[in-house]
């Protein structure tokens, strides 16, 4: 197929063949990462700007690494304070960066829809690296990639996602990437963090972690994002851990070959027990490795590459 997208704002409108195309491209990229010299000249002379308005280590580093592996010039712009409190609007900030002629803006922002808004007003390509509680498309793709690598398929697998569903952009992207490829998705969390409307996505909803984990092939644990919660959605972390933490006992309900994933960073002992985080069935570090390959694929395709035939 031919890649026609200028932006990657979300997976909401990705067709299954587009998702497969990115996965195929990521496979070629992963091959590059196995070489002694982990660098190809595909994006030489192109500039990627990481425009991060929210704290992030892993995603920003992953995009930076991806750009550099492809020989792009990568510039990082981080601002922990919002553009508004600095007195400059998001659009002004983006236009200032755009005036320096980058090819791709990778943006993370606390406001849902911020990348969509910028895409209407700037001329370069936009990659959404997480917008509010909307989407995190590269995470959705790397989760798919990781599962495919471990399981060989996604269709028919029971995937349980456990945690703060309400605020999670990872969930919304996973619903598209995994859902569209045929996974049976279960969403689980404390009721105030599990909006009932999410049933409209076709996912099963439960506030009982045992029901979610029973017979699951994949368990994706979400970080409990205390920093996003202005008011208490549940009594305490202790209570949360008791109800929604994944430990040996609960994990035993899953299929024998079930795998554990987590978009990170982990709160050890809260949503995930220490021993499970590091056990042989944990794919958490594989996710990080896949992330670089998937992000290389996205940058490569947006910069005009036509599949990984190099």
């Amino acid at each position: 197929m031919e890649w026609r997208r200028k932006h990657v704002l979300g997976l909401v409108d990705f067709l299954p063949e587009e998702i497969e195309f990115v996965v195929d491209t990521a496979r070629s990229m992963e091959e590059v990462l196995t070489r002694d010299i982990k660098k190809v000249p595909a994006l030489r002379g192109k500039t990627v700007v990481n425009l991060f308005f929210e704290a992030s280590t892993r995603t920003r580093t992953s995009f930076e690494m991806a750009g550099k592996r492809l020989s792009a010039d990568v510039v990082n712009f981080s601002s922990s304070t919002s553009s508004v409190t600095k007195g400059e609007t998001l659009l002004d900030t983006a236009r200032n960066i755009e005036a320096m002629k980058p090819n791709i803006l990778v943006i993370r922002h606390a406001a849902s829809g911020a990348p969509h808004f910028l895409a209407r007003h700037v001329s370069c390509s936009i990659v959404n690296a997480g917008d509010g509680a909307n989407e995190h498309p590269s995470q959705g793709l790397l989760d798919l990639y990781t599962i495919l690598k471990a399981k060989g398929k996604v269709a028919g697998l029971k995937v349980a996602i456990v945690g703060d569903i309400l605020h999670s952009r990872v969930v919304r992207s996973d619903l598209h990437s995994l859902g569209r490829m045929g996974a049976k998705l279960w969403l689980c969390g404390p009721a105030p963090l599990l909006p009932q409307e999410m049933a409209r996505t076709g996912a099963f909803l439960t506030s009982d972690i045992r029901e979610a984990v029973r017979g699951a092939d994949v368990i994706i644990m979400l970080r409990i994002q205390l920093e996003r919660q202005k008011t208490a959605y549940f009594p305490s972390l202790r209570e949360y851990s008791r109800r929604y933490g994944l430990n040996r006992e609960v994990f035993a309900l899953a299929k024998d070959d079930a795998v554990i994933m987590h978009p990170g960073p982990i709160n050890r002992g809260v949503e995930l027990s220490d021993e499970l985080a590091d056990c042989g069935q944990s794919l958490i570090l594989e996710q990080v490795a896949s992330g670089v390959a998937v992000r290389m694929a996205l940058l490569y395709l947006l910069a005009g590459g036509s599949h990984a035939a190099h």
Partner: protein
């Protein structure tokens, strides 16, 4: 002297809906004439054949932004938009800068409106000083200065105790308290109706219960105090149901809604359109249908557009950051006229919603009626003309409307305020200087 000739005169106060002629003289309505039009009329003649002739429309809920935010709107531009939309009177909310919590501010607005206005302006003063929800304003002084009602609109009065005291205190004087009914804690941080659209777009939600709990509270306090309260911009199904229940119980509760709440749903937010962002937020289809039902059965007394001008750049940003509100004075009439489709809502009811009822609720004597001796505020409406709401048509200083580009049906073709023609798009009928 003015003769409005041959129109369909729709006047709910006189239960009139018949073709005839209206004579205006010295700023008042002189008489209604049936039958042949007077020959050799000694004054200007406005042909109104095929059009409705109604008491001047009244919008009881607008933000004119002056004093303090004149770059968004001022009394001149806001009343020009009003006149173009068919409105001869508007009630402006108190969230100016300074807040209209002091008689000097009330007087300033009235003076400015008298000098520059294209329509009558009736200031609504704050219920609490600085809209802070802590201390009551000096109601009597404000009313004497010209405030027609009290509201902290834009902000809810969070304290039930303070609301109780205010309703109780003003009851002997007959002052009207209007409420922006919202539970601030339930609504905090929200930017859209809590529902599927908000979930899908990842926008923090405002639950319907935030409005419904507050409406229930106002109703119960009206009952407790034997007071009178008017609920502003009702947007939810249960809000309408509660209002209906209160009216059936004979309580002193009335309510208004805005055209956006019976025209749009939160589906308009797709693509993060900040011109669809407002508070209360656009709700679901079930709510929209309930609002229509409330209009049909009389539960909702009035339509008021909550005209809320904002400059481009506070809307040209991330959805959650964008300002709340839309302009509405030039679209309120056609969107309300759309209710007549299918014959469920009569022209008399439309004019009641947009003129007679607001006049009644705000106790505006001589307004909202065409009986002899009332003020010569008249709107001539072409109910069938089709037009597009283009950016060039906007007379407000701001253009924040989700209805830009919409094909609308019906508009005010002549607006007469105090006997003066303030707006006309009828060839040969020039507006007065």
């Amino acid at each position: 002297m003015l003769l409005i000739r041959g129109g369909r005169v729709v006047d709910p106060s006189a239960r009139r809906d018949e073709v005839g002629h209206l004579v205006l003289s010295e700023g008042k309505v002189k008489e209604f004439l049936a039958g042949e039009a007077p020959k050799n009329f000694p004054g200007r003649v406005i042909p109104a054949e095929g059009r409705w002739v109604t008491p001047g429309l009244i919008d009881m809920h607008v933000h004119l932004r002056e004093p303090g935010y004149e770059w968004k709107e001022d009394i001149l531009s806001g009343t020009r938009a009003a006149a173009a939309g068919g409105f001869t009177s508007v009630a402006c909310m108190a969230n100016t800068k300074p807040v209209n919590d002091h008689p000097e501010v009330t007087r300033f607005i009235l003076d400015k409106a008298r000098r520059e206005g294209f329509a009558n302006v009736f200031p609504v003063a704050a219920v609490t000083r600085g809209l802070e929800g802590k201390e009551m304003t000096d109601f009597t002084e404000l009313a004497e200065a010209g405030a027609v009602a009290f509201s902290d609109d834009g902000k809810p009065v969070a304290s039930a105790l303070l609301m109780r005291r205010a309703l109780e205190y003003v009851r002997p004087f007959g002052y009207l308290i209007m409420t922006h009914s919202e539970d601030p804690e339930l609504a905090e941080g929200g930017a859209a109706n809590e529902g599927w659209t908000a979930r899908k777009l990842g926008i923090p939600g405002i639950p319907a219960a935030a409005e419904e709990i507050a409406i229930a509270r106002e109703i119960l306090l009206a009952r407790q105090t034997d007071g009178r309260v008017h609920i502003q911009h009702v947007s939810t199904k249960m809000g309408v149901d509660l209002l209906r229940m209160a009216k059936r119980a004979g309580l002193g509760v009335t309510g208004e809604t805005a055209p956006q709440y019976f025209t749009l749903t939160d589906a308009a937010l797709e693509g993060y359109d900040t011109n669809a962002k407002m508070n209360p937020p656009l709700r679901g289809e079930e709510d929209r249908m309930a609002i229509l039902e409330g209009i049909l059965d009389g539960t909702i007394d009035a339509v008021a557009c909550d005209h809320a001008p904002h400059e481009d750049y506070v809307k040209r940003c991330e959805f959650t950051t964008a300002a709340n509100g839309i302009i509405g004075l030039q679209t309120s009439l056609p969107l309300t006229l759309a209710l007549t489709a299918g014959g469920k809502v009569s022209p008399v009811r439309i004019v009641d919603l947009l003129s007679a009822a607001p006049a009644r609720l705000l106790s505006l004597t001589g307004k909202g009626t065409l009986v002899a001796g009332s003020d010569a505020d008249v709107t001539v409406i072409d109910p069938a003309t089709e037009w597009e709401f283009r950016p060039e048509e906007v007379l407000s200083k701001s253009r924040n409307s989700p209805f830009l580009g919409w094909k609308l049906r019906g508009r005010a073709v002549v607006t007469i305020c105090g006997g003066k023609i303030r707006h006309s798009c009828v060839p040969g009928v020039e507006a007065d200087a």
